[in-house]
Subunit: 269 residues, 2 copies
């Protein structure tokens, strides 16, 4: 397969998405690849070349024990000041700042930051829902869940494990639901990526009339994450893994970090 | 069907997307619904309840003859000033301003505006590629293509026509590829919507542990447009209509305008 697909994302005509039903709750230390593998087999599903697995960041964060007991934090003066401006809990703000490299915007009940990974989102992606660690009795809480340490590395790890198990060249995207400037509502967004180029660069290709296309770089990984989010479910259903089948793409070494625009090149940060 | 689905978007487990191969080039005055209908039948495809058709704005713009000969425009002083700052053609800037209600950002080779429809994008969505109107000999050009006059109305028109033809309650999304603040690459974005709520509001639902979910409004229509963009193709392949099957949703009267955040409520505009 690798030899056949070398010119970037091919435009398929059909795409099928399937959410796995049987991924169990994940606990610290769990082997997420093994859990996904078991869920696939339990549902008689396979992985084949060019399948993309979209995995909610939350289950990786739980496996990495990225829980944090806010009562253990001492807010810095900066956190206290931002807490006053935003109306947020100062300990939560402290946790957000520890995960971030800079503050992007502060508003009433809103703190938007650039995470250390480069991705800009509300609260540095720290999750306050669905958070009850197995070791909750070891702290007074409230508990929150931070993003995985390195989502690109986590994607690559899953890709390697599942590609080997299934003898298939797959890709893995780690997704999170992010709000966006200018538009209402959250969308599934790629914060980790392995095995597929996050960007599909069509520059240099010609359009229908032979004119060279300008400014046409598609955020493929974000679009795949958004598609998967439609069926991943965020509430009681909780289906954190979606298999996307039908794309054709060459191998890629690039992670999702290429999707976050450097601050100096952005008109909005 | 209408009676069964009343609580907002249902989380399906499977989603299938199919790009239509046989949509012909569209000319001013063409009946887009009839062209889509013919393409569906030529490919032995059907429309059923809760199917969503994602239609590239460009073919509607062509049918509406939204071509513009830039040589006919006299740039205003404001256009001249913005042209100097951005390095863009002053006549193109004039066309952009005529389509817009306010300027959001100006950069080198970048002019980001809030279109009259409320959607914020580069160049007010004006397209300079693939633009050669059938009546090109009536002007000296260069020609550009503006967005449809009212994409929500266009979506509703298509929805009514195709729902009647197929005796099915379908939804229609008009999509365009938009760049975004903070992130690299374009994504399919809903600028018109009919028959499905553009936003899936999960507030008030409970999460896996019975805690009420906060801040969980998904931009369903944008996610559907992003998914479709993965197979719509923008270059020589040009497949401007995608059928999305597998979602379940109640009827909705809301258009895509609810997706654009009012300037006063946005931390970035």
């Amino acid at each position: 397969m690798d030899g056949e697909v070398t010119e970037g994302l091919m435009c398929s005509e059909e795409l099928s998405l399937r959410a796995l039903r049987q991924v169990p709750h994940v606990a610290p230390g769990d082997d997420v690849a093994a859990l996904i593998d078991a869920a696939l087999r339990a549902e008689a599903l396979t992985l084949a070349d060019c399948d993309v697995l979209v995995v909610c960041s939350k289950i990786l964060a739980k496996a990495e024990d990225r829980y944090l007991d806010l009562s253990t934090l001492e807010p810095s003066p900066a956190a206290l000041e931002l807490a006053a401006r935003s109306g947020k809990d100062a300990r939560l703000v402290e946790a957000i700042l520890q995960e971030s490299e800079r503050v992007s915007r502060v508003g009433r009940d809103a703190l938007i930051v650039r995470h250390k990974s480069g991705h800009v989102s509300a609260n540095a992606g720290i999750d306050q829902s669905n958070v009850r660690p197995p070791h909750a009795d070891q702290g007074s809480g409230p508990w929150v869940l931070r993003l995985p340490i390195d989502s690109d590395a986590a994607a690559e790890h899953l890709r390697q494990q599942l590609s080997a198990t299934w003898h298939a060249r797959i890709a893995v995207i780690i997704s999170d639901s992010f709000g966006r400037p200018l538009r209402v509502g959250t969308v599934g967004t790629a914060i980790g990526c392995a095995g597929i180029d996050p960007l599909f660069d069509q520059r240099g290709k010609t359009d229908l009339f032979g004119r060279t296309l300008e400014h046409t770089i598609s955020a493929t990984a974000d679009q795949i994450a958004a598609a998967a989010d439609l069926i991943a479910g965020q509430a009681a259903e909780g289906r954190p893994v979606v298999r996307v089948r039908g794309l054709k793409f060459p191998p890629s070494e690039r992670g999702a970090s290429v999707l976050s625009r450097p601050p100096g090149e952005d008109l909005y940060l």
